[in-house]
């Protein structure tokens, strides 16, 4: 089976600064893939290239076998690629239902767009239920808490039923309980959908990731299961800034693990 998302030789050059440098990535149908890496590793730039916000200097992005080069952002969304942003952007003057309805309506005919929304569609109702926003459905989304806004943002993605979801730090600023719920939701989504998540929170990653891709300074550093990536000496070096000499010596692995990746206890 061909991968849902295939990135080949992707490079982005911001006036001499190589944000991405020949990145190859392939994500299979139904995967829950985590993208990690230190600040400036190019994680968000990679997602920007997939969604069309940034134009790559070289390389190609293929979605379900189709090249996305030159396609406008909204056309990529219409193909089935949805994304969320680091800071949740919901339409604050509109109510929660209106936000979700607008997200769902993008496939409606122009004529239908000029009519008033009379009911809560089944899709919107289900998403309200799924994101736990039913109680605040008719409130302006500007009055929601940060966590709720992030859930609404995810809900606006879900209601569009994209085949590929790209989430940029979906649990940033969420409470431990909200993180657990989000993680459970992501696992539930993977399978039917293909999900790519940028995340800094290592505890979250350990708990929910299937496959992890590590980026560093615009290059692909490592890829594999959480354990594989964690035991990769190159990844450790990047995260801990250890010299090569130290790395070649027998450093106690569990200590490193605890220091670099935090503990699960954090999110309990």
């Amino acid at each position: 089976m061909s991968p849902v998302l295939e990135v080949s030789g992707l490079s982005v050059d911001f006036d001499g600064f190589k944000a991405l440098d020949g990145v190859n990535l392939s994500v299979e149908q139904g995967e829950l893939r985590f993208l990690i890496g230190p600040n400036g590793a190019g994680k968000t730039t990679l997602i920007d290239c997939i969604t069309g916000l940034t134009r790559p200097t070289a390389g190609d992005v293929r979605f379900e076998g189709r090249s996305l080069t030159g396609l406008a952002e909204h056309r990529r969304v219409r193909l089935g690629i949805g994304r969320s942003f680091q800071t949740p952007t919901v339409f604050e003057t509109l109510t929660v239902v209106e936000n979700l309805d607008l997200a769902e309506s993008f496939r409606r005919s122009p004529v239908a767009m000029f009519l008033r929304r009379r009911t809560v569609t089944p899709g919107v109702a289900e998403t309200l239920e799924r994101t736990g926003l039913t109680a605040v459905a008719d409130q302006p989304s500007g009055s929601l808490s940060h966590g709720q806004k992030q859930w609404l943002e995810i809900g606006m993605l879900l209601v569009q039923s994209p085949r590929l979801l790209l989430l940029d730090e979906p649990v940033a600023g969420m409470s431990p309980q909200e993180r657990l719920e989000t993680g459970a939701l992501l696992q539930e989504l993977a399978g039917d959908h293909t999900v790519v998540v940028i995340e800094h929170d290592m505890a979250f990653l350990r708990r929910f990731a299937h496959t992890v891709t590590v980026l560093h300074e615009g290059r692909l550093l490592s890829e594999g299961t959480v354990d594989e990536v964690q035991s990769d000496p190159v990844v450790r070096e990047v995260y801990l800034g250890r010299s090569r000499d130290e790395r070649s010596g027998a450093a106690p692995a569990p200590v490193l693990e605890a220091a670099a990746f935090g503990t699960v206890g954090e999110d309990a």
Partner: protein, 411 residues
Amino acid sequence: MSGVEIVPKSAPGDLAPPEVVVVPTPAPVARRRRTPLSMLAPGSASPWTGRLVFVVFAFALFALPNVLGNPSEIRQWAEWLCYAMVAVGLDLAWGYGGMLALGQGLFFGLGAYAMGMHLSLEQVPDGSLPSFMGLYSDYTSLPALWRPFQSFWLAAAIAVVVPVLIAGLLGLLVFKRRIRGPFFAILTQATAVIFALVLVGNLKLTAGFNGLTGFTKVFGRNKYAPETSQWLYQVAAVGLLVVLGAAMALVRSRYGKLLQATRDSEDRVRFLGYDPALVKTVGFAVAAGMAGLAGAVAAPVFGIVSPGQFDAVPSILMVCWVAVGGRGTLWGAVLGALVVNWTRVNVSAARPDDWQYLQGLLFVVVLGFMPGGFAGVLRSRYQWLAAAVTRRSRRTAPEPAFATATAGETA
């Protein structure tokens, strides 16, 4: 060594709690009590509120000429109703769509010229030239540009369709290139200036600076008859109600929500799968069509159509009406156009020299101290009143929560 290990090694699968799908965090649900006043409150969900206000407004509009009585005053009001139409359209573009269109004079003028050309031809026998052409030009037969305007219906259609097309084309060009904010404002302002220059420059076709005048016959009626003022007023009133009704429906539609969403975050709209350029272009074109219709109605009301009415300064004043009335509320736009023009006429009649200063002061005060315009002030006053009424009704009922609060304080 293994004692340092804090991270439990386990497969990710067994960590996933299968029963925890989503536990909604309980959020405070504001249960608003429905009092007669709160049901009327602006922004309340019931569409009946808007409809009721609309019906009352329509009655008031048609009753007004009976109160005024004086034909010249009725004609004056007809003019202001036309301005209100422009303001409603402009509010759609600016208040709801975030597009500061500083050149609505272009579209208002196109509509007015379309109808003005028809009226000029009405004054002379079929097939002959409008009177100014005998003075300024050597045309022997009606120029091709003028021919469609022999028909009233064609002229009326052109008055609306041409502004829509021009705005549509301009909008696509500008918004597809992601030009927005002040650049869009300056660009539209320039179009109004160019329009006035083109009119002045083409003396033979447009009568230049003097414009089209001498409409003694308007649609087969005598311009000076009192009934004609009354009739024109009614046409303007119907026009305003149509424009306002259409704008209200548009604002409530999914498209209306999308337009507001585009105003607030264009990028987010893009990543919902919509093209913001298209959304904005439609809004701008609708505003232009409304201005065109207003112009067509205004031409016979003005009795003269000249470039000075449609260039930069009047275009900016149109934005000021909306700002004073309250952008983002359609009623605010109507209110702004009527109040500012009513004040202008009455103040400048009493103190001709002071109006300009007063107008400037008005805008500074409103923009500085009442960002929501008159509508914003009315709304907050109204909410204050509604809250006061709610408090009063609560005071009559026993309030157990009060007692527990004081008990808690002493404890």
